[in-house]
């Protein structure tokens, strides 16, 4: 961690704000941190528990931040830099106002998987990381758990662990887990017969509370306070607790992300009732790749396919 701290110490005078992660209310909880004072830099951490994609804050923060010469520093994992790229492409973030700290990422932990992998039940009092091992300390003793065994689903299909866009990259590059886009999880559901597939989604979406955490955690859900899920004029969904309405919302969400979703998987991470909602967006990403050979947020110079019109395009 020396590198992140020392880098920020060296550049702090140029920065208005640093958005990173700190330890939350328990050792296994990393939570976003907004640091405005030099002495608080020490709170920042970087490890496989730093799951939140911090690019989600940038459009709003830059809008409300005072226009100064100072920059907003943001810590981004490899996949998070794709979200930033997409935001820049769409004009929601002014690249010049950012100081992007890119962090090669070994993968983030799925808390449920970790809970299942643990043999001890006592609360974790301390956690450390070494050579792709999580070392958990509790009153019952020390446990070592391989990071690979408790990775989030999004990380198991990761192909961009290294930052694609950064002012500084801290840490050595990490080998990608996948060489090519992997849609195995989507395809597994897709290959179910129609009736089974419908039953699968009805069962999953029945749990949806309509809390919209998936929407609000999504860096590319840029409508924010004007989402049509809650619009009454025009009215798209009812307030009934029905699978139909929930399904419709998730379809709208996915369609709005066609050719835009950078597959950061935040929607799925934050779902309190464990619905694999990222599969919808992965399906969109798969279609975008098939149709336009396009991967969102990979190339800052590219134009997202649905933001342009090419009369010669076929097959749509």
């Amino acid at each position: 961690m020396k590198t992140l701290h020392s880098h920020l110490e060296d550049h702090f005078e140029e920065l208005e704000l640093v958005i990173g992660w700190e330890i939350g209310f328990e050792p296994l909880r990393a939570t976003p941190a907004f640091v405005r004072r030099r002495e608080d830099l020490a709170r920042l951490v970087w490890n496989p528990l730093c799951a939140p994609n911090l690019s989600v804050y940038l459009p709003q923060i830059l809008k409300s931040a005072e226009k100064t010469e100072k920059k907003v520093a943001v810590c981004l994992k490899g996949c998070d830099t794709r979200s930033l790229t997409a935001l820049i492409q769409e004009g929601f973030v002014d690249r010049e106002r950012l100081h992007v700290i890119g962090l090669p990422c070994p993968g983030t932990v799925d808390p449920q998987a970790l809970a299942q992998a643990r043999k001890n039940r006592a609360p974790v009092t301390q956690v450390s990381f070494q050579d792709n091992l999580l070392i958990l300390h509790s009153y019952e003793g020390t446990e070592e758990i391989p990071l690979d065994s408790v990775l989030a689903r999004r990380c198991r299909r990761c192909r961009q662990p290294n930052p694609l866009l950064a002012d500084v990259v801290l840490g050595d590059p990490v080998p990608a887990r996948c060489d090519a886009p992997s849609f195995a999880h989507v395809e597994a559901v897709d290959s179910l017969p129609l009736e089974e597939r419908r039953a699968y989604w009805e069962r999953e979406l029945d749990r949806c509370l309509r809390c919209y955490a998936c929407r609000n955690a999504c860096p590319l859900c840029v409508c924010r306070d004007r989402c049509l899920a809650e619009s009454r004029t025009p009215k798209w969904t009812t307030q009934r607790d029905s699978v139909r309405d929930k399904f419709l919302f998730h379809m709208i969400h996915a369609l709005h992300l066609a050719g835009r979703c950078t597959e950061c998987g935040e929607c799925e991470r934050v779902c309190p009732v464990g619905i694999p909602v990222a599969l919808f967006k992965e399906k969109m990403a798969q279609i975008a790749l098939d149709l336009w050979d396009y991967q969102a947020g990979v190339d800052p110079a590219a134009t997202p396919p649905l933001q342009t019109f090419d009369p010669s395009e076929t097959g749509i």
Binding site: G24, F25, E26, R29, T31, P32, A33, F34, R37, E39, P52, V56, Y57, Q112, A115, Q116, P123, R203, R207, L209, R210, C211, Y212, A213, R215, N216, A217, D225, E230, R232, T238, Q239, R240, D241, S242, E266, R269, V270, P272, V273, G274
Partner: protein
């Protein structure tokens, strides 16, 4: 223990089936495909009942469904009247008896907040009242608080009987079930078997031990004045809330959040006026038709959430509108910690240059 029975683990399903004969029985249960995803579900044979696990969402929906019809309306065509139709409105409903079996004490206590508003306010909510009267709460004395739990800090505790009609006390091979209210006594009569003196003693010891246990630091019950003093301290609220995503998760998993919306859902000539969960964290919650919004950003909205639970409710009813279950903290996508916010209300920070 005046009225108590012993319920062996092996007879749990039998007991739940017996209770189901004349009531809807809600139990914490794992999903078929995701056993650790525990929610309150209607009991049915084969359900994977998980009294050992904390449920993700509270038992709130048993008395306060996510969405319910307040009334139904039908427009009947009739050209003899000026409007061309006659309107029929009806609010009839049937509410079956229900049992919530194996919730935690915090879940049962959460309804005390509802009671103040829905039963003892200037207007009584008939939908809630009817369900309330017909529902029996059996809570499990809690032995596995986690890092998000803070029931003792809001005046409750892992063995809190308030809001429960009967209590389950876990022993190695089953549960002692003890009645707290008349309604609980009626339930206890239907299941289990006479406990042995040893079982009674073990249950008593466990109850004593749980009763002494403190879950969560300090006390958050007297923060009314501190909240008001902090109200306009923008730096304080930004410091705590900049990371909030302004979703509705915290309010939806909360056992005491009771805010709702009312909408008409119609198709053709008929429809329903429904009441559904709403969240003070959503911008449209207070958005007026003129475009004015008295709580325009997440800072004002979260401040209202804290104020409602720890200040406004206290000054109005003399109790906090929080049962310390910790769900809003445990499940928050960015781990916003309401305990920390409330605990910091009276703290004088050092002034940094």
């Amino acid at each position: 223990m005046e009225k108590a029975v012993f319920l062996p683990d092996t007879e749990l399903h039998e007991a739940l089936a017996a209770l189901s004969a004349d009531a809807q029985v809600w139990v914490p249960a794992g999903d078929a495909s995701k056993p650790d995803l525990v929610r309150f579900q209607r009991y049915r044979p084969g359900l994977s009942v998980r009294l050992d696990a904390r449920s993700l969402v509270s038992a709130k929906e048993v008395l306060f469904p996510r969405s319910e019809a307040l009334l139904r309306f039908v427009k009947e065509k009739d050209l003899s009247v000026p409007a061309g139709h006659r309107l029929h409105v009806d609010d009839t409903r049937t509410v079956p008896p229900a049992v919530v079996f194996g919730c935690r004490p915090c879940d049962a206590r959460g309804f005390l907040t509802f009671d103040r508003v829905f039963l003892q306010g200037p207007y009584r909510d008939p939908y809630y009242a009817e369900r309330r009267e017909k529902t029996t709460f059996v809570s499990l004395v809690c032995r596995d608080a986690d890092g998000a739990c803070f029931c003792s800090a809001v005046g409750s505790g892992p063995a809190d009987p308030q809001g429960s009609d009967a209590q389950l006390i876990a022993l190695p091979d089953g549960y002692v079930l003890r009645a707290i209210t008349q309604r609980g006594a009626a339930l206890v009569e239907k299941i289990g078997r006479g406990p042995t003196a040893e079982q009674i003693q073990a249950a008593r010891d466990m109850l004593d031990q749980a009763g002494r246990e403190m879950v969560g630091e300090g006390s958050l019950t007297a923060m009314d004045a501190a909240f008001r003093a902090r109200f306009q301290d923008a730096a304080f609220w930004h410091g705590h809330i900049d990371k909030c995503l302004s979703c509705g998760l915290c309010t939806f998993v909360c056992p005491t959040c009771y805010c709702f919306t009312i909408t008409d859902e119609a198709r053709g000539l008929s429809g329903e006026r429904i009441r559904s969960w709403d969240a003070c964290m959503f911008p449209h919650f207070t958005l007026e038709a003129s475009g004015h919004n008295p709580r325009p950003s997440k800072v004002e909205r979260y401040r209202n959430r804290v104020g409602h639970k720890f200040s406004y409710f206290v000054s109005k009813y003399g109790q906090v509108a929080c049962c310390g279950c910790g769900r809003c903290i445990r499940h928050c996508p960015v781990s916003v910690d309401i305990r920390a916010v409330v605990r910091d209300l009276p703290v004088q920070e050092e002034v940094h240059a």
